[in-house]
Amino acid sequence: MTGGSAKAGEGHGVQADLLAQGQEELSRNLLRMQNFATILLNQEEPKVGPTPREEIYRKNKSRLYRYASTRRHPTPLLFVPNLGISRPYIFDLLPGSSFIEYMTRQGFDFYLLDWGVFGPEDNHLTVEDCVTRILPRMVKKVLESSGARELSVLGYCMGAPLSASFLALYPDVPVKNFVNMAGPIDFSQVGLFGCWLRPKYFDADRFVDTLGQIPADLVKVGFKLLKPTMDLSTALNLWWNLWNDSYVRSFRALNQWANEYVPFPGEFFRQWVKEFYQENRLIRGELSLRGTAVRLDTIRCPVFVVGAKEDNIAPPACVRALIDAVGSQDKEYVELPGGHISLIAGRGASIHCWPKVSTWLAPRS
């Protein structure tokens, strides 16, 4: 072949590529329009929480669920998520995008504590009540229903400091392992919320005394403010992936969750903000619940701490602090890619986080 004909061939190749790309883009745009119309017209809520479960126990608004599993590991696992803010179905969003589904497939006897959506009648509920009244009962029910002598506790987000306080307060409770996922422990390193909630700028007493319950809309504003560009990038990514049915399905479920905020009981919010955020009592060993000091160094079971590199709600440093505070010999910290939510939910989590947690927990269960 001569140089000229080679160039001409190359030119034809480029043109064919461009044509193929153009056709692909066109078909994607058609799919985008089709899916956009579906989103607009189909207001039906996507089905979330696919893993089969049964309600084991209920206390006021809180529920304890046990998930169907092969139960290869004899030690049950109690998952303690955050109270207020958002609903826990993010951990079991869709088939293939569910932390709970993954853990049950790995053979864990998985229990979820759903704190529930509290109403104005629960405004007197405090952090103390959660740690000393609800958690002990849930643990008791897990042991009773599983028939096991010990259990593992996995705290996520606010659920981690609550569980850690529970473990420290009741060293006799047979907790075999403790996992902290993105749970703030040292509130001096807690990022933007820590800065905004400083006592000189934020009067928690005045808030609770005026509002009683902290409304879901206010919680939403706080979290939206934390990442003001989030909605913009979500919209952009949706438009970009609008041709992809599977992306759209995940988006609809995730979007439903992301816009469903949950209020805080007033007294819980008061104690949480003042004693944890403003006074940082937990890590200082100054937290006292029902007249008993909460000392993290009394935690002696194996401890696994997972921080997320881009977490702006519980930055890695404030999560990692648990490692130095506990009295355990067997303890490990890992820092994984992702943010506060993407650490545990989504495709990245299924690659980076879930196998790590399962691998650490399995031989200890």
Binding site: E121, R206, P228
Partner: protein, 193 residues
């Protein structure tokens, strides 16, 4: 989609622009100086427009442009997110937010009180239980549930004690029977000899 060198160069230029812009903003905010958006934005926008016109005049509009454009927007959003995060992490922002919330609360308190009172009065006039009454009943139910659970706990503890007691009693009886059997055996041995 494959990238061509022309659009890659533009992408780099755009990225550099964003980084310089964000650094300038962050610096201004960090120094606490008054920000003049028009003065700052003019060269930034001019540069941006130049980059875009260059992109459209020199490069053919290919489907790859869409991917490039998406990348530009992602970088732009990420850069602004960074700037906003820095700005919102300052004492000045926290103070301003605190003041704003204070004002909101000051406005909210009398409004909430008035709304609560009028709703209460209306419902009471209509003979319908008011919100506070419903909350009161719900709270009583919660308290009742707590008490029942307290009783359950006590019953469990009592059952545990009784189980211990029965076990001790059974052990005692077994030991007594063993002793009695031992004595009888001894007596039998003696009479036998």
């Amino acid at each position: 989609m494959a990238e061509n060198p022309g659009t890659q160069a533009l992408s780099d230029l755009w990225k550099k622009q964003i980084e310089e812009g964000t650094q300038a903003w962050a610096k201004l905010m960090g120094q606490g100086q008054a920000v003049d958006p028009t003065a700052f934005w003019r060269p930034f926008m001019d540069q941006g427009m130049a980059a875009w016109s260059k992109l459209f005049t020199q490069e053919p509009v290919t489907p790859d442009m869409m991917a490039q454009w998406k990348r530009f927007l992602d970088q732009w959003i990420a850069a602004w997110s960074k700037v906003l995060e820095q700005a919102m992490g300052t004492e000045a922002f926290a103070q301003a937010l605190g003041k704003h919330l204070e004002q909101w609360l000051a406005l909210q308190a009398p409004m909430k009180k008035a709304a609560d009172e009028s709703t209460e009065a209306t419902l009471s006039a209509l003979g319908i239980p008011s919100r506070s009454q419903m909350v009161g009943v719900a709270r009583q139910l919660v308290d009742l549930e707590d008490r029942i659970e307290g009783l359950e706990d006590r019953l469990d503890a009592l059952r545990g004690r009784m189980d211990d007691l029965f076990k001790a009693l059974a052990d005692h009886e077994t030991a007594a029977a063993r002793r009695a059997a031992g004595k009888a055996r001894k007596r039998g041995d003696r009479t036998g000899s």
